[in-house]
């Protein structure tokens, strides 16, 4: 094979077949992986959950993962947030002409490894090559289905006053790792992305605590955005305790230099879980049993006051609103 992806790799001819065999089948293969027009698998019992997500990340590789790993985690975690066990994924690659084949292999390899770790099978894929400059490196879209095994009823609209709010680990590491990898601000720090598949811990929580109200994947908008979404959807208020929010010291240092709020930095391996307060300890205990969620902490509670707002108890005992989400993250000096 050549070193670089060319337009002919996307033409559907023998070069495409070669690429599929040498890169994708080699790394993603399983009994359902198909070269036919569609994959055929046994239908699971019960309800299924289905989700899709597109991934563009620059740079494509960062400490703690790459876009291949990310594209599996994202969809697996979305499915798990509905209490479903992820079963099958499809993937669609749009690759920029000139992309290094060795890099593509690295990405496919990470995708395969992450899928096996998450217990999900990649059953079908598609490859398109776009002309130079039409995409930034490569874009990946994954779609997936999972089966709901336990009688659960989860939704961002189900948070109730009195519930406890849990995050499954320190926040903002993915966003911080990407920011550092882009090297726009000359800052160095040892920060690894939190990118990880979380189906196992999520399913453990819902199977042992069927009364769980909400599980949400805190991705690009960070934990702060998820909390605001839950406030809106559930018509409740949220109170979090500033000193209880887990933030890695290096992330704290980087955000301190740039004047950014860690609650709005992206995560790719952190869930926000809301349970009735009597299950708070048990939830933490379950999550502690998994490496990816061993840093789980209660950060606050749902209230029936100041509906639609996230309020933060501050280090001096005052109360303040968390600024609403949606602002572009720009470093500030003042």
């Amino acid at each position: 094979m050549e070193d670089k992806i060319t337009l002919s790799h996307g033409s559907g001819g023998h070069k495409t077949s070669e690429l599929i065999a040498d890169i994708f089948k080699k790394n993603l293969d399983n009994e359902y992986f198909t070269a036919d027009d569609a994959a055929v698998m046994p239908a699971p019992d019960g309800k299924i959950a289905m989700s899709t997500d597109g991934f563009i990340v620059s740079p494509w590789k960062f400490p703690g993962g790459n876009i291949g790993k990310l594209s599996v985690c994202g969809t697996v975690n979305d499915i798990a947030c509905m209490g479903a066990r992820p079963l099958y994924l499809t993937c669609s690659y749009v690759i920029e002409e000139g992309f290094a084949v060795s890099d593509l292999e690295e990405i496919a390899k990470a995708m395969g490894e992450t899928a096996r770790k998450a217990g999900v099978k990649i059953v079908a894929g598609d490859t398109k090559v776009a002309g130079k400059g039409q995409v930034d490196g490569l874009f990946i879209t994954t779609a997936g289905v999972g089966v709901i095994e336990n009688e659960v009823n989860l939704s961002g609209a189900f948070a109730k006053p009195g519930d406890s709010i849990i995050v499954t680990g320190d926040i903002g590491r993915h966003g911080c790792a990407i920011l550092l990898a882009r090297d726009e601000y000359g800052i160095e720090a040892d920060v690894t992305s939190d990118c990880a598949p979380l189906a196992e811990p999520a399913l453990a929580v819902v199977s042992k605590i069927p009364a769980t109200h909400v599980i949400r994947d805190a991705t690009r908008g960070g934990v702060g955005t998820v909390l605001y979404e839950i406030c809106d959807a559930s018509d409740v208020g949220i109170e979090i305790v500033s000193d209880d929010i887990p933030v890695d010291p290096a992330v704290r240092g980087v955000t301190g230099l740039l004047g950014l709020e860690p609650l709005y930095l992206a995560c790719e391996g952190r869930l926000v879980i809301i349970v009735p307060s009597e299950f708070e300890d048990k939830t933490i205990e379950i999550l502690s049993g998994f490496e990816e969620t061993s840093g789980a902490k209660v950060i606050g509670r749902v209230t029936d006051e100041h509906k639609g707002k996230v309020v933060m108890k501050t280090s001096i005992g005052g109360m303040t609103f968390l600024p609403p989400p949606g602002k572009e993250l720009l470093p500030r000096i003042c």
Partner: protein, 349 residues
Amino acid sequence: MNEAATILKSYEGPKIRIMEVCGTHTHEIFKLGIRQILSPDIELISGPGCPVCVTSADYIDEACWLAREKGCVITTFGDLVKVPGIKSSMIKERGQGADINVVYSPQDAVLAAGKDPDREYVFLSVGFETTTPSDVIAVKYAKEKGIKNFSILTANKTMPRAYEVLADSTDCYLYPGHVHAITGTADCKAMLAKGTSGVIAGFTGPELLTALAVAVKKCQEGEPFLVNCYPRVVKDEGSPAAMRLVNEFMEPCDALWRGIGVIPMSGMKLRDEFSEFDARVKFAIPDMKEEYKTPCRCGEVLQGKIKPFECPMFGKACIPDHPVGACMVSDEGACSAYYMYGGLTGNGR
């Protein structure tokens, strides 16, 4: 810290008005929820200490003109990107293809210029005494290294004249710690000599509570006072090296403060011998001064005459996503901070 909090909670007596003149103070006071613990007899006024907010609208238009008409790469602190000018804003220009690059420091801007000699780089030099030395360091570097494609668009400002203009609006200044880390305590002493009280304050919870409590205690004693509550950073002499550097490259000039008007000799510009680094001279920017008409009552907000929520535009036509007035622009602008963090007790206190 508990002692300080108790004083601030339990104060009863004549109303004490304390004006913070630093946007970061405003920001931290809201972020820490300090207003919630203050006695109703203590009033905090957010003065004009946000360099982004007091930067005049025509300055933004000058920057947009450089990007659009001269093809300059504009390098800027993130705070300025969203600020509306009269005709445009950098976020609009960026959408139309202009190169607007956010940098962490002015030195990063001059380094970027050095690596890309075929394009003109302009750094938007805003800020008070704390930031101006960094701007000058960048110019000095460009001069020493012969980087010809770098210049700065100055809107640097200094605080002392503003202290004088606003002295009647407050019983006590909460002086900006990082300004006085550079300039020392002389300006505050000069204000004291004229009968204006103040405390120099840091930025963390304990520092702010302590400085406010000292202000309240001292106000009760009735004599004008000045207490440096940030001695771990602010020394009497400030940073002589920084002041020497700034005075070598820059000189005072009149400055237009958005919402307040012209305050004589409250700005800084490059001296004539460094005009090759002055974007206004280098690119012969046409005069963009135009009366900026807005129903916003920014001027009164910045001078502490009204609270943000007393402005008819506040929270309605003017919100952080589409700011109309200056004080809604930056996160630390008085109105933006009120909008995002205020309202916990209903009246925005």
